[in-house]
C-alpha cells in the first residue's frame, strides 16, 4: 500500500517537474492569436476601427472585445480571413465604411508651410521634413491611412489613388462573352442574364 503510494507520488513529482520545465523552456511570448490576427490586418495603422493601430485592434479581437468587421482597408477579404481564423461567421463591413481604392498621400510642396503636424500624425514615419522646411511623402512607405490629411492647417495634402501601371498590372479574372441566346420570354431573358457571366 505504502510503496504504491510512493510510486504514484514519485511519478507525479517527476511529471510535474517535466511540465514545469517545459512551461519555462517553451514559454510563448505574447499571445500567438494576437499575432495571427495582426498578420491578417493590412497594417495601414489608420485607426478607422476605433483602435489606435492594427495591433491594439488585433488584441481587442483576440480578447473578444471587438467585432471582426471594423477594418475598411482590409475589405471583405480580410473579414473572410479573420472569420476563418476565428471560426466565426462572415459579417459585412460594419458602419457606413466603404473600402476605398489603395492610395498614397501627396503633399503640394508649394503650399506646405513646414509645420510638422503631418509628420507627428504619420503612424509609419513616411513623411520627411523639418520645422519650417518643406515636407514630402515617402510614397513607398505610405500606407494611405489619411491621418495626415486632417491635421494640415493649409490643406496641402491630398490622397492620390495608385493608378494601374505596367509595373503593378495584374492579369484579370477571365471574363468572356458566351453565345447570346435568342430570347422570346422573361425566363429566356433571365437565362441570358446568367449566361453573361464567366462559367464556374
Amino acid at each position: 500500500m505504502l510503496s504504491a503510494l510512493l510510486v504514484m507520488a514519485g511519478i507525479a513529482i517527476a511529471l510535474g517537474a517535466v511540465l514545469g520545465y517545459a512551461a519555462i523552456k517553451f514559454r510563448v511570448e505574447g499571445n500567438p492569436l494576437v499575432d495571427k490576427i495582426d498578420a491578417i490586418l493590412p497594417q495601414t495603422q489608420c485607426g478607422q476601427c476605433g483602435f489606435p493601430g492594427c495591433k491594439p485592434y488585433a488584441t481587442a479581437i483576440a480578447a473578444g472585445e471587438a467585432d471582426i468587421n471594423k477594418c475598411p482597408p482590409g475589405g471583405e477579404e480580410g473579414i473572410h480571413k479573420l472569420a476563418e481564423l476565428l471560426g466565426m461567421e462572415f459579417k459585412p463591413l460594419g458602419g457606413n465604411a466603404v473600402p476605398k481604392p489603395k492610395s498614397v498621400a501627396f503633399i503640394d510642396e508649394a503650399t506646405c508651410i513646414g509645420c510638422t503636424l503631418c509628420i507627428q500624425a504619420c503612424p509609419v514615419d513616411a513623411i520627411a521634413g523639418a520645422a519650417k522646411q518643406m515636407h514630402t511623402i515617402i510614397a513607398a512607405e505610405c500606407t494611405g491611412c489619411e491621418l495626415c490629411v486632417a491635421p494640415c492647417p493649409v490643406d496641402c495634402i491630398s490622397m492620390k489613388v495608385i493608378e494601374e501601371k505596367i509595373t503593378n498590372w495584374k492579369w484579370k479574372y477571365p471574363v468572356y462573352a458566351l453565345n447570346t441566346v435568342e430570347t422570346t420570354n422573361v425566363a429566356g431573358a433571365a437565362l441570358q442574364k446568367t449566361n453573361g457571366r464567366a462559367p464556374g
Binding site: 495582426d38 490586418l41 493590412p42 497594417q43 495601414t44 495603422q45 493601430g53 492594427c54 495591433k55 503612424p123 509609419v124 514615419d125 513616411a126 512607405e141 500606407t143 494601374e164 501601371k165 505596367i166 503593378n168 498590372w169 495584374k170 492579369w171 484579370k172 479574372y173 477571365p174 468572356y176 458566351l178 453565345n179 464567366a198 462559367p199 464556374g200
Partner: protein, 526 residues
C-alpha cells in the same frame, strides 16, 4: 547515338512553319521612325542616359542597366532622339511604358566598336560586357544573359543550346541556324567558356533537318566538340525544363533552377548575339522576326529593335481580312494592343490573324473533369484542379498544387473539350498571388515602422522622465550644499535637539555609574 528521354504529355498542333522558310532572311529597310522601349528585358527598367534632342550613333548606350537583373538599351541606328515618353508597347496589359523615339539620319553611323577575345577576360568581365551590350535571352522571356552566367560555385556539366523552336508558325531560330550556324557555334563556345561546361548540346526538333545539317557542318569546320541532337517534335519540347528532360533525363526540381542540377540553357539566337557582342563589339540592336499568318509573303526579316510592327507587316503584305496581330506563337503569344507598337528584343514572330485562320474560340462549357488536360500537361500537374482553385480564388490551394510550376504552354487549353481558357485562369491566379505577396511585404514593412515609432515614443518618454528625475536629484543636492543662514525657529529646533541629546547622554552616564557602584557593593558583600 544519344539516348533520349521523354517528358510527360505534350501535343502535336499543326506546325505551319513551311510558309515562312521558303526564302532567306531579308534585311528590313530602315524605317522613318524607331521607338525604343527602355524595358525590353525581365527585371528592372533601364535608366535613360540621353536627352531629347541628342544626336546618337548606332550602338550608343541610351538606357543604363539599373539593378541586378537589368540590361542595357542602345540606339539601333544613328539619328536624333525626338522624345522620351510613355508609348504603347507590346504588353498584354495594353498599358504604355517609357520609350525613346529616334528619327534616323540615314547614315547608320556606328559608335566605336571594340571586339574582344573572350579567352583574355575573366568571367565577371565578360558578364559585365554582355550586360552593357544588352544581351538578353531571345527565346521569348528576354531574361538578361549575364545573370544566367552568374552561377557562383555551381558546377555546370551540360550547356544546352535551345534550337527546338516548338511553337507553330515561328521559324526565326530555324532560319538563323540555317544561315548563320557559324556564329551560333562560336557564341556557344564562348558561353561554354564562361560556364566552364563539360559538354555542349544543341537540342533541335527533327522537323528542321536543314538547321541540324548546318549546325553539324559549322561544328565540323570549327573543329569543336559540340553535339547536335535531333529531338522529337512535340509541343512544348522547346521549353527549357522539358528540353533538359529530353536531353539529359534530369528533372529540374520545383522551385529550383537548371543550374542547381548542373545544366544551363540558352537559345541559339542568344548564342548568336553573344558572338556578335564579344567578337564584333556589337550590342544587341536587331533580331530575326518571322512575319507569317494571314500575309501574302510570309518571311523572316532581320529588323532593328524599335521598328514599328506595322512597317514589318507591310513588308509581309498582310491580307485585307486581317483582324489582329499576335506577337509570339499561337500557343503562348500575346495579342498586340496596336499594330503601331515597336519590335523589342523578345519579338520572335508576328502572326497576322483572320477569322479563317484563327476562328473565334468556341463558347466555354463547364469542366467535366475528363482529365485530358492532365494527359497533356508537360509539367506533370493537375490542370483541372488548378483551374478549380483559380476560378474559385482559392490561391493557397492552387499554390499547394504547384501552380508556379506551370509553364503556361497552353497544352491543357488546346486539348480541353469544354474550351475553357485554362491558362488565363492560371495567369490570373499567379499574378494575384504575386500581388498579395507584395502587399504582405509592404504590410510587414509598415508594421515594423509603426512598431519602431511606438518604441521611439516610449524611449523618448523614458528619457524625458529620466532627465526630470536627474534634474530633481541635482536640485536636492544643491539645496543641501547651500550655506543659507538658518531661521530662528530652525535654530531653536536645533538647540532643542542638542539639549535632548545632552540629556540622554547624562542619563546613560548616570545609569552606567549606578550599575558600577552596585557591582562593587555586591563584590564587597561576598
Amino acid at each position: 547515338m544519344r539516348k533520349l528521354n521523354h517528358f510527360h504529355g505534350g501535343i502535336h498542333p499543326p506546325s505551319n512553319k513551311t510558309q515562312s522558310t521558303q526564302v532567306a532572311i531579308a534585311h528590313a529597310p530602315l524605317p522613318s521612325k524607331l521607338i525604343v522601349p527602355f524595358h525590353q528585358h525581365a527585371g528592372e527598367i533601364a535608366k535613360p542616359v540621353v536627352q531629347v534632342g541628342d544626336h546618337v550613333l548606332k550602338g550608343q548606350l541610351i538606357g543604363m542597366p539599373d539593378g541586378f537583373v537589368s540590361s542595357a538599351v542602345h540606339a539601333p541606328t544613328s539619328g536624333t532622339i525626338t522624345a522620351i515618353d510613355l508609348q504603347l508597347i507590346a504588353h498584354p496589359s495594353g498599358l504604355p511604358n517609357l520609350c525613346a523615339t529616334l528619327i534616323p539620319d540615314g547614315k547608320d553611323e556606328w559608335v566605336e566598336r571594340k571586339a574582344v577575345d573572350y579567352r583574355d577576360h575573366s568571367q565577371p568581365e565578360l558578364q559585365q560586357l554582355l550586360r552593357m551590350n544588352g544581351v538578353v535571352g531571345l527565346g521569348g522571356a528576354a531574361f538578361p544573359s549575364d545573370v544566367k552566367l552568374r552561377i557562383g560555385k555551381q558546377k555546370i556539366k551540360t550547356l544546352i543550346l535551345n534550337g527546338a523552336e516548338c511553337e507553330p508558325y515561328i521559324t526565326c531560330d530555324d532560319m538563323l541556324m540555317r544561315e548563320r550556324a557559324n556564329e551560333i557555334v562560336q557564341g556557344a563556345q564562348m558561353l561554354r567558356f564562361m560556364l566552364d561546361a563539360d559538354e555542349v548540346l544543341y537540342g533541335v526538333e527533327d522537323n528542321k533537318p536543314e538547321a541540324i545539317a548546318a549546325l553539324q557542318q559549322a561544328i565540323k569546320e570549327s573543329n569543336l566538340n559540340h553535339d547536335v541532337v535531333a529531338i522529337p517534335t512535340v509541343y512544348p519540347g522547346g521549353s527549357a525544363k522539358q528540353l533538359i528532360r529530353v536531353l539529359t533525363g534530369l528533372e529540374v526540381p520545383s522551385g529550383k533552377l537548371p543550374t542547381d542540377i548542373g545544366v544551363q540553357c540558352f537559345n541559339v539566337a542568344t548564342a548568336y548575339s553573344v558572338c556578335r557582342a564579344l567578337a564584333h563589339g556589337e550590342p544587341l540592336l536587331s533580331r530575326i522576326i518571322t512575319i507569317t499568318g494571314n500575309v501574302r509573303r510570309a518571311q523572316n526579316f532581320e529588323a532593328l529593335i524599335g521598328t514599328p510592327i506595322d512597317y514589318l507587316v507591310a513588308l509581309g503584305e498582310a491580307l485585307s481580312d486581317t483582324d489582329g496581330y499576335i506577337m509570339g506563337g499561337p500557343m503562348m503569344g500575346i495579342p498586340l494592343p496596336s499594330v503601331h507598337v515597336p519590335v523589342v528584343k523578345a519579338t520572335n514572330c508576328i502572326i497576322a490573324t483572320s477569322a479563317k485562320l484563327f476562328p473565334q474560340p468556341q463558347p466555354s462549357m463547364p469542366c467535366i473533369r475528363c482529365t485530358r488536360c492532365v494527359e497533356a500537361c508537360p509539367a506533370d500537374l493537375q490542370p483541372q484542379d488548378l483551374y478549380w482553385f483559380a476560378q474559385s480564388k482559392e490561391f493557397g490551394k492552387a499554390q499547394k498544387f504547384s501552380l508556379f510550376d506551370c509553364i503556361e504552354c497552353g497544352a491543357c487549353s488546346y486539348v480541353c473539350p469544354s474550351h475553357i481558357p485554362l491558362v488565363q485562369y492560371y495567369r490570373f491566379a499567379k499574378s494575384e498571388i504575386r500581388a498579395r505577396e507584395h502587399d504582405k511585404q509592404l504590410a510587414d514593412q509598415a508594421r515594423v515602422r509603426h512598431e519602431f515609432r511606438e518604441h521611439r515614443f516610449e524611449r523618448e518618454k523614458q528619457e524625458k522622465a529620466d532627465k526630470l528625475a536627474a534634474r530633481e536629484a541635482a536640485a536636492q543636492a544643491a539645496k543641501l550644499a547651500s550655506t543659507q543662514p538658518l531661521t530662528p525657529q530652525q535654530l531653536a529646533e536645533q538647540a532643542d535637539l542638542e539639549a535632548r541629546r545632552e540629556h540622554i547622554r547624562e542619563v546613560a552616564q548616570s545609569s552606567v555609574e549606578n550599575t558600577a557602584v552596585e557591582n562593587t557593593t555586591e563584590r564587597t558583600g561576598n
